[in-house]
Every structure is written in structure tokens, then in C-alpha cells.
């Protein structure tokens, strides 16, 4: 299967998906670690993480998928929500909590 198709299936088949470097337990990058921490603080208990370091096709493909050159990337219900800065801003404003509860 084409990598774009694989990504689409992952983000539409799971409610909350974070593409990150490393795992939720062992993040390999400070920005990814922050993203996991924020999502946990928001009570996202159905979070699915994808380690881009484990699959180079996904690592490159995810940048095209959302036209977004950096990792981490958060998807909720198939929609691209943002990267590290946007997550932080949405957490501070309370928007992320609302989005996750909906």
C-alpha cells in the first residue's frame, strides 16, 4: 500500500493520533516529549502514537500528507490539528481540551 494511503488509514481509523520521534514512553525529541505530555495532561487516554524513526517512508510521507515539514504532528478524527507550537497554544487557551472531549 502507498504510504499516503497508509497514513490516511491510520489517522481516520483512530480518534487521536500523534506522529512523533520515539514512543510515548520513550520520546526521542524534546518537542515530541512535550506533545505527549500535553496530550496526557488533557486526558487523551485513547492516544495512538506512531514512531516516525521506525519507518522512513512514514517519516518522509507524513510531511507531504499535511504539507507540514516538522514532527510531531497531531491528528484528531482524521484532521490535522498542528505541530508542537500549536498544541501548546491550544492547550493554554483550553481549545485542545475541548476538542479532545468532543
Amino acid at each position: 500500500m502507498d504510504v499516503q494511503e497508509r497514513i490516511k488509514q491510520t489517522v481516520t481509523g483512530n480518534r487521536v493520533v500523534l506522529y512523533m520521534k520515539g514512543s510515548a514512553q520513550m520520546p526521542q525529541c524534546g518537542f515530541s516529549a512535550n506533545a505527549v505530555q500535553i496530550l496526557k495532561a488533557c486526558g487523551a487516554n485513547d492516544l495512538v502514537t506512531v514512531d516516525v524513526l521506525a519507518d522512513n517512508d512514514v517519516r518522509q510521507g507524513i510531511k507531504q500528507y499535511a504539507n507540514w515539514p516538522t514532527i510531531p504532528q497531531l491528528y484528531i478524527k482524521g484532521e490535522f490539528i498542528g505541530g508542537s507550537d500549536i498544541l501548546r497554544e491550544m492547550h493554554e487557551s483550553g481549545e485542545l481540551q475541548k476538542l479532545l472531549e468532543a
Partner: protein
């Protein structure tokens, strides 16, 4: 090594800014970007505009860029 001044120049060439501040250590950068072009755009769209201005440099030279993207009105609000 890329300097904050260079990153500033790249952004400036792509986006007309009211206010532009870039700090960084050569790999990780922080930018405050205030511009009219952000009006009516989502956060994702705003960041995409900045990434577009940086183009391939975002992949090759700049490892990480944290940014705040504000319209002039939002910038006034955050300044009280």
C-alpha cells in the same frame, strides 16, 4: 551554521512583516512574526506560510523553529 539574522532574512523575503523577532542557536530557533497576511487564517495555515517562506531550508538548515504567528491586532492585544 545558520544565524538568527539569516532566518529572519528568509522569512522577511517571503512575508511582509509588521514585527519580526528571531532568536536561536544555529539549530533551534524561536520567531515572533506579526503580519497582515495572517488575518483570517488558521494557525496551521499561518505556520504553513512561514514554512513556505523558508522552503527547503526548513529541511536542510533549520532543525527546529518555534513560532508565534500573530496579526497586528492580536499583537496589540498581547501587549496589553
Amino acid at each position: 551554521m545558520v544565524t538568527p539574522e539569516q532566518v529572519r532574512g528568509y522569512i522577511e523575503r517571503g512575508i511582509e512583516c509588521d514585527e519580526l523577532r528571531v532568536l536561536g542557536d544555529g539549530q533551534h530557533f524561536e520567531a515572533l512574526i506579526v503580519s497582515d497576511v495572517f488575518r483570517g487564517k488558521t494557525r496551521v495555515q499561518r505556520h504553513q506560510l512561514v514554512y513556505q517562506a523558508l522552503g527547503d531550508r526548513m529541511r536542510e538548515e533549520v532543525h527546529a523553529l518555534s513560532m508565534r504567528t500573530l496579526t497586528p491586532e492580536e499583537w496589540l492585544d498581547t501587549n496589553g
